[in-house]
């Protein structure tokens, strides 16, 4: 979880210019101010990064970051090491 969340956080700040203070597990996609195309772009980025299939039609704007990470983790064949060490 922490590895995935750390990666998601870095993508949100570096590629989508999201304020790091807004990035919390309970924050929703709507909270971050991502419009629908940015959300699709985020999902495509994560699909490429994690080699998973994330269906945007199953993720409404109320989806939290924790739920997004959980959806990706259920498809990961092998869990990446927790490089954050927590």
């Amino acid at each position: 979880m922490n590895h995935h969340f750390a990666h998601l956080s870095s993508r949100l700040t570096e590629k989508f210019d999201i304020d790091p203070g807004l990035i919390r597990p309970e924050a929703t996609l709507a909270d971050l101010g991502l419009d629908s195309l940015a959300f699709v772009e985020l999902l495509m980025t994560l699909q490429d990064d994690w080699d998973v299939d994330l269906d945007e039609s199953e993720m409404p704007p109320q989806t939290t970051l924790a739920e997004l990470v959980a959806a990706a983790r259920t498809q990961s064949v092998t869990e990446a090491p927790d490089t954050a060490g927590t």
Partner: protein, 356 residues
């Protein structure tokens, strides 16, 4: 004897006179949005819109004539097309094709002329077919036109999802036989379709599947409908993959690309594709902000715009990419042409009307 290369030797365009900025589009159609949102969402600030009397054929004829003028200026003498391919999703009539009448209006009597429908990817499809005709030695001077009137023919002006995107216009190019090292030489291509995703962007009724008068149809069924988010994702992935395939066949890397001219659908798609390819923004050229998405006309219009503004040197390694309903997509590599683009206003004075 080696096969000739197909060389782009004339470049023409035509846009309707009426320019509609976002603010007027919103106001006239009561759209639930504003100018800034449209610009942020799409990169489009304005578009040219045809009046109800201006048809796709009117725009195509004007752009075709401009391309021939451009080719004559470069060659020093007139070049006469021996086949005409018109890429369009918005023909003047459901039957017959528009290309024969365009050829007639241009004075090209008895030349073969056909419409090509691959929606927004149509120009790349027609270009590839024309290239094949030249390299095979079947024809020497194909005239390829992309022309559309989405705003009068396909788009519901009150549908925010589509009304903000589209504009009308036509772009045209003339090919001739030459060598692969010349400015304008077409090099390699990649085309593809995915008919399993036809429903992502289409006009639901009005064809043979659901003819006019079918029970249960409403007016909205005869307009373009689009799943914007799914189309966005497909467009980014398909154009990127197709571009990489065309680059590979040309033995170029993305670093070699000096100019990337994408189908002008949405600036965010273009930026995303360029980012994935690794083509810097300074090498991406387009006119989306001022003309919107002109479907099959967008790539030749963007090429003409870049040439007109001297943004790309003749001979520069150039990549084209496109995507549209179908789904259909494609990419093409070429050396940027040296032909100076010309433009003509659409007019219908010489239109004699269609006899049955």
């Amino acid at each position: 004897m080696p096969m000739p290369a197909a060389v782009l030797c004339g470049l023409g365009s035509s846009l309707p006179k009426r320019v509609v900025p976002n603010s007027r589009l919103v106001e006239e159609n009561g759209l639930a949005t504003d100018s800034e949102w449209i610009l942020r969402r799409t990169g489009i600030a304005a578009r040219h819109m045809a009046d109800p009397r201006t048809s796709t054929g009117d725009l195509a004829t004007a752009a075709g004539r401009a391309a021939l003028d451009s080719a004559r200026n470069l060659a020093g003498s007139p070049l006469v097309p021996d086949i005409l391919l018109l890429a369009t999703t918005t023909p003047d009539h459901r039957c017959p094709a528009t290309a024969p009448e365009v050829a007639h209006r241009m004075g090209l009597e008895a030349v073969p002329a056909l419409d090509v429908n691959a929606a927004c990817a149509g120009f790349l499809y027609a270009l590839t077919l024309a290239k094949g005709l030249v390299t095979a030695g079947l024809y020497t001077h194909p005239l390829v036109i992309g022309a559309e009137t989405y705003t009068t023919a396909l788009v519901d002006p009150h549908d925010r999802d589509t009304a903000i995107l589209f504009g009308d216009g036509a772009g045209a190019i003339l090919l001739r036989p030459g060598t692969a090292s010349q400015p304008g030489a077409l090099l390699a291509e990649d085309l593809g379709t995915d008919g399993s995703r036809t429903g992502l962007v289409r006009v639901p009724a009005g064809g043979s599947r659901t003819p006019f008068g079918s029970p249960g149809t409403t007016r909205k069924d005869f307009y373009l409908v689009m799943n914007g988010k799914a189309v966005y994702a497909q467009a980014v992935r398909r154009i990127t993959a197709s571009a990489l395939a065309a680059l590979d066949r040309t033995r170029w890397s993305a670093d070699d690309v000096e100019a990337f001219v994408s189908h002008q659908a949405n600036q965010r798609i273009i930026d995303d594709v360029a980012g994935r390819l690794g083509v810097p923004a300074a090498r991406c050229h387009g006119n989306l902000r001022h003309v919107g998405n002109t479907a099959a006309a967008s790539i030749p219009l963007a090429l003409a715009d870049a040439a007109e503004r001297n943004l790309v040197r003749p001979g520069a390694r150039t990549l084209l990419g496109g995507f549209g309903a179908g789904l259909a997509w494609g990419a093409h590599t070429l050396h940027f042409p040296e032909a100076r683009p010309l433009t003509r206003s659409p007019h219908h004075a010489d239109h004699q009307g269609a006899a049955p």
